[in-house]
């Protein structure tokens, strides 16, 4: 039954209610990650402190998604822009949001050095194993055998090397006394929220946080709803979902 309701969709305060439907494709993981992030910002009451930065690639479509001050930057450069912000104003809680290309390929030097220096921000890498906006090319995290536009016969690891494991890499260089490093998945958004909570609390305490979120890209994967969740399950077998580094006293 179609009705005209007074109440609209249940949005977090940290979500921009004015834009209506998001710009993401049907079934895109970004929507799940971002709404969970927004809910976490609400629950930790960080709405006035949070600064959101997004990259290019699909993540740029979130340039007006959040109801917090936002900057949409350039390929892989969200990390330096946001730590530039928090270096200048350490009271802010900086969030740099990007895809696996922005985080682990074109912006990887920023990720590595931000982790080494324990820059005060949360870096979120939405890992959907391909470059979405540019049309579904191989990314650093493309799974062995996975077909993409630049690996039309499946990713051959003998030629391309093995998929990058971002969270493990960051965990191996992050300062355990200042950092929170985890991998989560959009298959469990309650768990994702508790992961974001720790990550943001750590940033609010002056620390460095990195969360890789296993995400989905039904459009470029060419998967239906059932296949999409199945593919995510396979990814979770390959990319271990867990907390790798957690500074003491963080709950």
């Amino acid at each position: 039954m179609i009705e005209m309701l007074e109440k609209g969709p249940r949005l977090a305060k940290a979500q921009n209610a004015e834009v209506g439907a998001s710009k993401f494709c049907p079934g895109c993981g970004h929507g799940m990650i971002l709404k969970t992030l927004a809910q976490t910002i609400d629950e930790l009451e960080l709405n006035d402190k949070a600064i959101f930065g997004c990259d290019i690639g699909c993540s740029l479509l979130s340039w007006n998604y959040m109801n917090v001050d936002t900057v949409q930057t350039h390929h892989g450069r969200t990390t330096p822009v946001i730590y530039g912000v928090t270096r200048a104003n350490p009271d802010l809680v900086g969030i740099a949001y990007m895809g696996d290309g922005g985080g682990l390929a074109i912006g990887s030097q920023h990720l590595v050095n931000a982790a080494v220096r324990s820059e005060n921000l949360l870096i979120i890498v939405a890992n959907n194993t391909n470059y979405g906006m540019t049309g579904g090319q191989m990314s650093p995290t493309t799974m062995p055998g996975q077909k993409t536009e630049t690996t039309p016969y499946g990713r051959d690891c003998d030629v391309t090397g093995r998929p990058a494991k971002g969270a493990e890499m960051v965990a191996s260089i992050a300062d355990p006394d200042k950092s929170f490093v985890a991998r989560a998945s959009v298959s469990n958004l309650r768990k994702l929220k508790s992961t974001f909570k720790k990550a943001l609390k750590n940033v609010d305490m002056g620390g460095f946080s990195f969360v890789e979120v296993l995400s989905v890209c039904p459009l470029n994967w060419r998967t239906n709803n059932v296949q999409t969740w199945d593919r995510l399950k396979t990814m979770e077998e390959f990319f271990e979902v867990k907390e790798f580094v957690q500074r003491e006293g963080l709950e």
């Binding site: 609209g8 969709p9 249940r10 439907a21 079934g27 709404k35 989905v216 059932v226």
Partner: protein
């Protein structure tokens, strides 16, 4: 000023304990909620979403109003109102 929101509404799910709404201006018809539903009671609807693709709606008798579909929806299209 109040804007009204067009929605597919299934009232009195979960033995009358909840109302189920889907905002058609938000639903993109991805169907991810269908797979996640613990009761497997969501189905494609005759109504369409923002991209003129089928939206979804629950079988009133089977739906337990648990809110999993609302949680998982990437686009905030679903609202399960517990009474």
């Amino acid at each position: 000023m109040t804007t009204k929101h067009k929605a597919i509404t299934v009232n009195d799910v979960a033995k009358g304990k909840a109302d189920w709404h889907l905002y058609t201006d938000y639903c993109k018809g991805c169907g991810l909620c269908i797979v996640k539903c613990p009761k497997k009671c969501l189905n494609w609807s005759k109504e369409v979403g923002i991209y003129q693709t089928p939206a979804v709606e629950p079988n009133r008798d089977e739906c337990i109003g648990c809110g999993t579909c609302e949680l998982v929806c990437p686009d905030n299209a679903i609202r399960v109102e517990k009474k």
